[in-house]
């Protein structure tokens, strides 16, 4: 169907209004971060804060989470899609309830465990809780992805004498890679941005991951030489890793979201 001229004009106007509302806070941040003393604002952030330990924590948290999610969710999705065992449905639905469980319900008991193991104030304390929630959240997506792959592949592999593990490792996993990439992008974003658990498990400000650090910037502005321009510069610095990531991953993310890997 051809779009009429009125349709074109009206839709473009609506999109422009939305675009302005979406971009206003982001552009404001960039503009204010350069006001008064230009890139000097950014320099001053580094004089006030040594962000390297925070970045390291974030890398441990995100890296660890991605490794655990990749292994655990791809194996589980393969089992639920292509293998059989008694109680399979029940276990599958039990794991799906995991995506509904609020973080607040986990924090206190897990904090006790983490403290008991003396891994509070390290990135490791967050890896397994994050991995579990990402894996449960994405289990259905990946299982659907495996469901779309033909069963004949497995039969052929069995006839050739490959065991389940070999079939999984050399046949299913490589074909399911696009689905897994989509899941890992999602896992990256949620584990990089999570606040609630991170700020409680890691209460030493020098070790908190990058999702918690901006709280410190806001506290510093009151009553010191750290101006609002420095604050915005600091926020931009914290956004840079995720901006780089989005530039690299946005195509895969959009494709993952739009090629039917996700079914509502």
């Amino acid at each position: 169907m051809k779009n009429s001229k009125t349709y074109k004009i009206v839709t473009q106007m609506i999109c422009l209004i939305v675009l302005v509302i979406i971009l206003f806070p982001l552009c404001l941040m960039v503009q204010k971060s350069l006001e008064v003393s230009g890139f000097g604002n950014y320099q001053k952030v580094f004089e006030y804060f040594d962000l390297i330990p925070n970045v390291i924590t974030s890398i441990i948290v995100v890296g660890g989470t991605l490794v655990v999610v990749a292994i655990v969710v791809s194996m589980a999705a393969f089992a639920f899609s292509k293998l059989h065992f008694p109680g399979k449905r029940a276990v599958y639905y039990l794991l799906l309830t995991g995506m509904m469980i609020p973080t607040s319900a986990l924090i206190f008991p897990l904090y006790q465990i983490v403290k008991g193991l003396h891994i509070n104030n390290t990135g490791w304390s967050l890896v397994f809780p994050y991995a579990t929630s990402s894996a449960c959240f994405n289990l259905m997506v990946l299982t659907n992805y495996y469901n779309a792959l033909p069963d004949e592949l497995i039969d052929a592999a069995r006839i050739d004498g490959a065991g389940k593990w070999k079939t999984f490792q050399f046949i299913m996993l490589p074909i399911a890679k696009p689905g897994l990439v989509f899941v890992l992008i999602q896992a990256f974003l949620t584990s990089w941005n999570e606040l609630q658990m991170a700020m409680i498990f890691i209460n030493d400000p020098n070790k908190q991951p990058m999702s918690v650090v901006p709280l410190r910037f806001a506290q510093t502005t009151t009553g010191s030489g750290f101006t609002i321009n420095n604050l915005f510069a600091a926020c931009i610095i914290c956004l840079i890793p995720i901006a780089i990531f989005y530039t690299l991953a946005s195509r895969q993310l959009m494709e993952g979201l739009t090629d039917g890997a996700v079914k509502g």
Partner: protein
Amino acid sequence: MNLSRRNKDYLTSFLFALPLLLLFLIFFAYPIIYNIIISFYDWNGISIEKVFNGVANYQKLLADPVMWKCFWNFVWIAVATTLIQSALGIILASFFMRKIRLSGFYKVLFYLPAICTPTIIGTVFSKIFETNRGYLNVILRTLNLDFLCQPWLATPKTALACLIFVNIWQWTGYSMLMYYTNMLNIPKELYESATIDGAGSLKQFLYITFPLLKGTHITLIILDILGALKFFDLSYVLTKGGPAHATETFSTYIYTKSFNTFKQGEASTIVVFMFLIAMFLTVIQLRYYYKNEKEEMSAR
């Protein structure tokens, strides 16, 4: 295949699902059970002694006005977010289905807020909504609309509205992409035959697109309600639950009880309330998936 070989086959199959099941039991099931047990005790979360006090925590919270404030805030956030976000999402997605100019560009930029760190978004919006030098009030004054200026985050009514606005600002792109994805799955032939029958584009949207997106509507409604139930980051960063508990949510209230006032028994009781709401939603969602799966099976 004899029995023992089949059992061995089942066992190796089960081993593939075992790692995730173990993680689930340790990191999800155990904390829930822990909270349910603690909800029957009077405990500060630190000392070794806990005092069993039956349903006293439940009685206390049901009579607690702040708890009810949390509940109604949850309802408001859920209703407003679900309606506005879904409406915006489906409208924008329908534009992109008609391939308007710059579609790809808009899609990427509209999704941008969804990937940003909530604490940074909160920080920026706290400077926008600030009373004296906040950018929103500055803009209103330069437009000579002084009478509209507000202490946005310091007035109970507007504070909650601001949080809902920021939440919608952040997640509309997600709803938009979900709708777009699922619109792509609707067979083109339906529209072609509708056009031949003389149905205009509005009619096609109302009678083909909208009903066929039922699954997406349900998924998004559940996700939005769940987001409202978990709501923490923006409230914590922008208003700390204030003014006067106007933006208090279950999560911020649990946080205060656990780590500021050390009433872990009560905190766990709120967790149980939240958990019950979440499970109610889960049952609805899983029943829908299950029905869908059966239909797909019988369609094959």
